[in-house]
Structure formats: C-alpha cells, structure tokens
Point group: C2
C-alpha cells in the first residue's frame, strides 16, 4: 500500500496527488467511512511530500465533504455511508449461483428469452377471464375501494374467504387472526423483523427457495441448512441442528416444496413439531402452491393449531403476480404486533389488490380454471420429465403436483457452467447451488415445467452439456471444476 | 420476588403451585426467554417445598415446551420469543399521542366517524374519472400487465414520466435512477434498511410526520428532533445536532411540510446542504404533497444533484391510497443496492398499480383535476381557519398550499385531553405530541382541512374544550396537567 501511494504521486500537483491517493482508497473501500486517515506526518513521509502539502490536501478533501477533522484527533472519512450489500457476487465464485442475480435476471429479461429456471407460470396459464371480470367490476364499483386506504388487517371479505380456505386444510383460524400483506415475500419479511434480532440463527431446508437466503441476509441472520428428503427435512439432522445452533426460527414450504416438489409426510410433520415444541422454535410455513395440490398434504399449522407455526401464502403463483397480495395467519397476540409493524413500514396494503384477489377467487370460473391448470401441469410434468431424461437429466423425485422439477445433471457436469452456457443462448436456468446455502447442489438444476414447453430449451441444454463434457480435460467426481 | 413465590404456593398441588409460579414469571417477562431458572435446590428452599416437587414441576414445564434442560447446566426458559414491540403504549403516558395508535384508529374507523386528524383526502376529492378510465383500459389490456411480475426497477413508462415531472422541479434524473416501490412509506423503509445500522442516529423535524417515529423505532434507530421553523429546520440547532449526535440520516418533507404546512426557504435549503456536505449526512426528502403546490418550493435534491439527497414520493395523497405505488430517485450505485433489497424483501412491485398510476397521471383529466383540487383546498383552508379561530384555535402559520393546518389550542388546554374527548364523540383528532419526539407540542393539533367540512367537528371541539377548561382546578402555563 505504501508503495502504491508513493507511485501515485506523479503528474498534477503534489497536493492533487495526495488527494487522489486518499480518494482512491476511499472509493475502493480500503479506507472505510468512519476510518481515521493516516496522520499528516506519516503520510508526508510515505508519499515523500512536505507536511504542508498533506495538510492542504486534507483541508481540500474536508472542504469537499469527503473527510472531516475532529479537533485534537485527526481526520476521518465521512459518508456516503457504506450501504447494506446483499449481493453475494463477491463472496460466491460465480454470479450464476447468486440467488439475487438469478431473480433479477428472470425479472429483467423480456419475453424473447426462455425461462425454464424461473419460479412462476407464464401469464397465459393464469385465470385471465376471472382477472378481467374483476377489473371491470372494480372499474364501476365503490369509490372508496378505488381511492382509500385498506383497514390495518385488510379487506374483511377476503380474510373470511381465506379463513374458509384454510379450514379446508385443517387450519382453524378466525378472520381476525389473518392479516393481509403486499405479497408472500413481504409476509416473511415482516415476520423476520418481528421475530429476529440481528445475529439470530434461522434454519432453512437444503435446498430451499433461493430468495429465503437473500431475505435472511437482509435481516443479518445466521442461516443454517438442514438436508431435505423426499418426505421433508431430515428429522435426525434437524434435531441436531436445534441442539447445536439454537435457532429461533425455521422457514419452510408446506404442501409442495420449492425447489424439490416434495411433500411433507405426516410422521415427519409430527416429529418436527415435537422437536420445535421442546426447543421453543417458531416455524414459518410458506404455502404458496396450495392451489396446485391434487391430494392435500399435511400442514404444520393444522397439527400445531397456530401455537408456534405461522402460516403464510399469496396468490402470485396461481392468480396473478402483478396483483400483489399475501397473508399471514398467526396467534392473535402476534397478529397485533404485526399490524403495528405493517402500519409503521408500509402504512396500509393495497385495498385494490385485495379486492381484485377476492373477486377473482370467488369468480365462478376460478375453481374450474384451477382444475384445468392441475391437469395441464401434470401433462407438462410428464412431458418435460421425458425430454430431460432423454438428454441424461434425471428427476430427484417425481412430484405429485405443481410446476417444479428438481433434477440431477449427468455425472461430472456443473450446473453453474450449464446455466452460464444457457444464458449465452437466451435460456435462463436455475442452477442447484442457488438453492443451497451449503453449496451441496452443484450437480442439480430446477426446472419449471410450465416454462419448458419450447423444444429449443432442450436443444440448448444438450448442446451446452455436450460441449462442457468434451471441453473438460478430466471428467469425474460429482462436482464440476469451477466449484472446487 | 421470593415472597411472591412463597405466597403463591397455596391451592392445587404443590407441583402445580411451582409450575404456576414459574409460568407467571415467564408470562410477565420477569423470566425472559433464554434466562436460566433458579436451581432446583434454591427454588425448593424459597417455596418451602421438597426438591422432588420442584424437579417434577420443571420436568412437566419442559414437557410443555415452556422450559428446557441443558444437561449439566440447569433449566432455561424457551420461546415463544419476545417479539419486537413498536407500540409506545407502555412508554407514553397516553395512547392518544401514540403515533401508531392514531394511525390504526384512522385506518380502522368507518365512514360514520369524522376524521379531521387523518392525513389523507376524502375519496370524493380524488380523481375518480381518471381512475375508473384507467381500470377499464387495464381490464381489456395486455395480459402480461394483469398477470406478470414487474421488472426490478418497475414500469419503464411511469419512470420516464416521473423523470419528466421531477425535471419540472429542477431535479435532473434519468429514468434508470428511479426505482418504483409499493408506497412512499415502503420507500423510506427500504432506505432505512439500506443506510442504517441498529443504533444509528437519525434526525427528524420537531414536529414531523408521526409515522417516521414508528418506522425509525422498527429500525432500532436513535431519533433526534430539531425544531422546525416556518422556513425549515432551525439551521443553528441543526448544526449543533450534527456535531453532537453524528447522525447518519435526516428525514424530512420537501415542498409542503407535515404537519406544519411550512415551506423550506432557499437560504435554509442551501445552509442545510452545506452542513450535510461537511458531515457526510444523507438526506431523505419525502415529497408526497408535490401536486398540491401552487408555487414550486425549493427541493433539496435539486440543489444537491442527488449526491447525498434521496428524493422519494408517492401518489396516495393526490391520486389514490388504494393503488399502492411510490418511488425512490437516488444515485445510481445506491439504486443498484436498493434493487437487490427490494427483490429480497418483496420480490417485485405491483405492475398493475404502477400501470394504473401511469394511465391516471397521463389521463387528460388529471391535470385539470389537480388544478381544481388546489382551488378547493385553498377555499377549505380559509374556511377551516376561520372556524377554528372563532373557537380560539389559532394556526401556527398560514400554509401556502396543501391540506394540513398546524394549530395552537387556547392557553392551558392539553391536545391529548381534547383528542380523547373528541374520540368519545366520534371525532378523530391528531394531538400535537404524536408529531413530536421531544413532547414539545402538547398544546398543538393538526387539522386536515379537506376532512373538516362537517360543522359537528367544531361543535365537538368547542364543547370539549369548554368542559376541559372548567374541569380544571387551575388553568395556566402552556401545558396541560396530564403532560407533566
């Protein structure tokens, strides 16, 4: 570093050279905001300039607001602040497995790109008729609904409808224990703020929905992953993680697990809850794929009676991702605190979105649409499975329902390499390690069968995999070379 | 405490008495989650029971999941966790000046209640025609808009339109430095998460918009208030606060200040920014009342060029509070980090809301509506001022525009008392100390002139004030007796 400073003192005046050296170190964060600058004397010595040159440089930097003097104590770097950074780009070896980067790619790319890696249905698979009818009803409806804030808990008839729907899954909850949110993600976000202190440990599944990682990083939580099996988390390892890490919270999907498509078995659900009871663990159960189910799976909230399980959901996957609306069902004392937090952080939810969701859900066409959707998904699931198997990509399990298929690549291939190759051809893939905090899923990939109807996807996959296999000097072991 | 435990050992079995004593202490938080319980021997001695009774009681509590044993180290209280509490009900002497309570009251109460204290326009004052037309257009429009996620920055044409509108206020910003959010409140919330560490100090105005307090408490920030003058914050005291508290952030309203209706003067704006520059302070300028302005006021973001000022806004006050949409204009490097944070915490904003706002804003009727609204507000402002003055309530200043009127009550009256009396009569008022972190505004009240057209408000006010004045044994001094 001292060398670097000495070298930079060429060209321009000496004062400017000193200023540039300090500015560079601030810009590259080698001098962080709040850090004390080298003393005038020591810097003069290092840069081989006079003390008065450094004094003048420091004065000018202070006048520019880059540093400030504290009388008797020297100069310090002032703002701009080092803002919170969520990106793992620096920490991860590869942006292709950075969860945030995949989310942003999927959201940014237009319709000319194929997105077998994204986590939602194509718009054409959603209940268009019900949505348009709901919009028309609202356009000529009550002015208050169009213009005014919602109540703090959110639209009463939608909460009543949700209470009935939850009842069908064995979850008994009155409408005033349901709070509407802007989205399922916002529901989890509010709950994390409500339940976590920075540094608390949170359990997730390995693999799990990748946005959990980004969200938990935003809460400065310590994330511990427990291996997921075809019937739920590994109970033995779950118990060990409770003992060892004393987590405050476990976040999981109920019904259809993201990314694996697996379903919790009753016995795993029961054992999990016994462990949670014994250790004071709180569980968030994210039930966003509920309407895709053919046969109802056990819900942790149904077994637990909303004592320590919090049940959340949204309508982004089955109704519309454009109309933002989610919900939280929880104990009454927690709902009360969550309402305060919602008012403080977003004042009120969209009344219009809630009303739209309500109208669309109770539209006569919605149930028929969902039934047809399940059939369509099952058909796509078997077709995509066959196409993937034909090129050597094999499902980890055969999901009972839903749109997600968790697959293993042929031996020796790294999913991040394949995803990178796919992106170059306009195909957004979801490599396994984006879903794995422990980086255990380098040979896996998640496919969305509803977004995988275009044959070009499989051509690109096959060609990329062939090229990557032959490019490799030695092929062997479960992991690719880029992930060592 | 030992006495209390000994006394409670009556009725039921001894084991149950020990269990009840421990449960009570957990319920009342005198034993917090994570705390170690008294040793078996010491509790047996205190409660005058046998050691085996305590052992059995602890075992049963552990079986209930209330406590857990750590081998070799004793028993500890487990969850449920003590969740984050935002309510000031405990800390404040009076719920009537708890900001969150006022927000919740205003949002919960139906249309049968008069709300001169609330912070938004009646639905009938909003641009109904433009909203309904926008809804109809969307109902027959593009399916992607109805069903799909927005891009991470949000709807491009709305960001272009916002860039043009900001340009009219002297703020030069390209559309890709504007990020849409769910609301103005969510914009501030995201920025706090981005910029603050727990324990950081934030400057606000005294008085200021009351939800800033609740929001900053959710971020565990240390809030320092600087007295507000008719031309902006007191610059002298602002400078002293910077020196003394080294805040990272200052949050304020530009254009029309909430609750005072005051407008920043150019000289105050310039001095503030000089102070901010010298100390590395970041400023969030909340410009939600922009469309109410008759004469454009200075914007800090225009003077600063978005270096350290972040400009935010929303459409809840002039278009619709039901259609949630806000925005952040900031430096490009900050916008990039904010997009990550938005994706992590809410995945995507409502595309539908953004499209609705866009269509309504560019609807030919919107500008005419806003012009008519300004005239209507000016008329209501002078009428309400006259009616308030007739009963001895005097404005702190005569606002140039907007709907808010900050008033002083007659000598000796406490605004919280008056608000409590008003609530009993179905009139929701906004007592001054809800806006004052320093509790400096006990004799002030904020009125929304658009919500004060009903004569009953002034009858209730007058009657309440008369009763409170005569109830009082001695009337004198600026503050009421309940606020000592």
């Amino acid at each position: 570093m001292d060398d670097a400073l000495a070298v930079s003192a060429v060209g321009g005046t000496r004062i400017e050279a000193v200023m540039a050296a300090i500015s560079d170190r601030i810009a590259t964060r080698s001098l962080m905001p709040g850090a004390r600058l080298p003393s005038v004397r020591s810097l003069a010595k290092i840069m081989q300039v006079s003390v008065s040159t450094v004094v003048e440089a420091y004065e000018r930097l202070a006048a520019e607001g880059m540093i400030r003097s504290r009388p008797g104590s020297g100069f310090y770097v002032c703002g701009p602040l080092p803002p919170l950074s969520l990106s793992e780009a620096g920490a991860r070896s590869d942006r292709n497995v950075d969860p945030l980067w995949i989310s942003r790619q999927s959201l940014e790319m237009g319709d000319d790109v194929l997105k077998p890696g994204c986590g939602w249905l194509p718009a054409s698979w959603l209940p268009q008729a019900a949505l348009r009818r709901a919009m028309r009803t609202l356009a000529r409806g009550d002015l208050e609904t169009l213009a005014n804030y919602a109540t703090p808990l959110g639209l009463p008839p939608l909460r009543q409808l949700l209470a009935r729907r939850l009842g069908e899954h064995g979850i008994t909850v009155p409408p005033d224990q349901i709070m509407l949110t802007e989205s399922g993600t916002q529901a989890i976000d509010l709950l994390c703020r409500f339940l976590l202190e920075p540094g608390d440990t949170v359990l997730v599944d390995d693999p799990c929905y990748f946005n959990f990682h980004a969200l938990l990083r935003a809460h400065r939580a310590n994330v511990v992953a427990v291996p997921f099996t075809p019937t739920g988390p590994d109970v033995e390892l779950f118990g060990q993680a409770l003992e060892r890490h004393k987590p405050r919270l476990y976040i999981t999907n109920s019904a259809i697990h993201n990314p694996t498509g697996a379903v919790l078995s009753p016995v795993t659900a029961h054992r999990l809850l016994k462990l949670a009871d014994a250790s004071g663990l709180v569980i968030i159960e994210d039930d966003i794929f509920s309407d895709f189910e053919n046969v109802p799976a056990p819900r942790l909230a149904a077994y637990d009676g909303l004592e320590r399980v919090i049940h959340i959901g949204s309508f982004s996957k089955t109704l519309s991702a454009s109309v933002r609306c989610g919900f939280i069902a929880a104990r009454p004392d927690w709902i009360d605190g969550l309402v305060d937090l919602k008012v403080a952080s977003s004042f009120s939810c969209g009344q219009l979105s809630a009303e739209l969701v309500y109208l669309a859900l109770k539209d006569g066409s919605y149930r028929k649409h969902v039934e047809a959707l399940r059939v369509r998904l099952a058909k796509a699931m078997s077709e995509v499975t066959a196409r993937l198997e034909a090129i050597g990509i094999t499902p980890w399990l055969e999901p009972q329902a839903g749109m997600l298929l968790w697959c293993r690549l042929p031996e020796g291939l790294d999913a991040a390499d394949v995803a990178r190759a796919g992106l170059a051809e306009g195909v957004i893939l979801a490599p396994g390690n984006a879903f794995s905090v422990a980086d255990n899923a380098g040979s896996f990939m998640r496919f969305n069968v509803a977004q995988s109807t275009d044959g070009r996807i499989f051509d690109v996959l096959e060609a990329s995999m062939r090229r990557l296999s032959t490019d490799r000097p030695t092929v062997g072991g479960a992991r690719g070379s880029s992930r060592t």
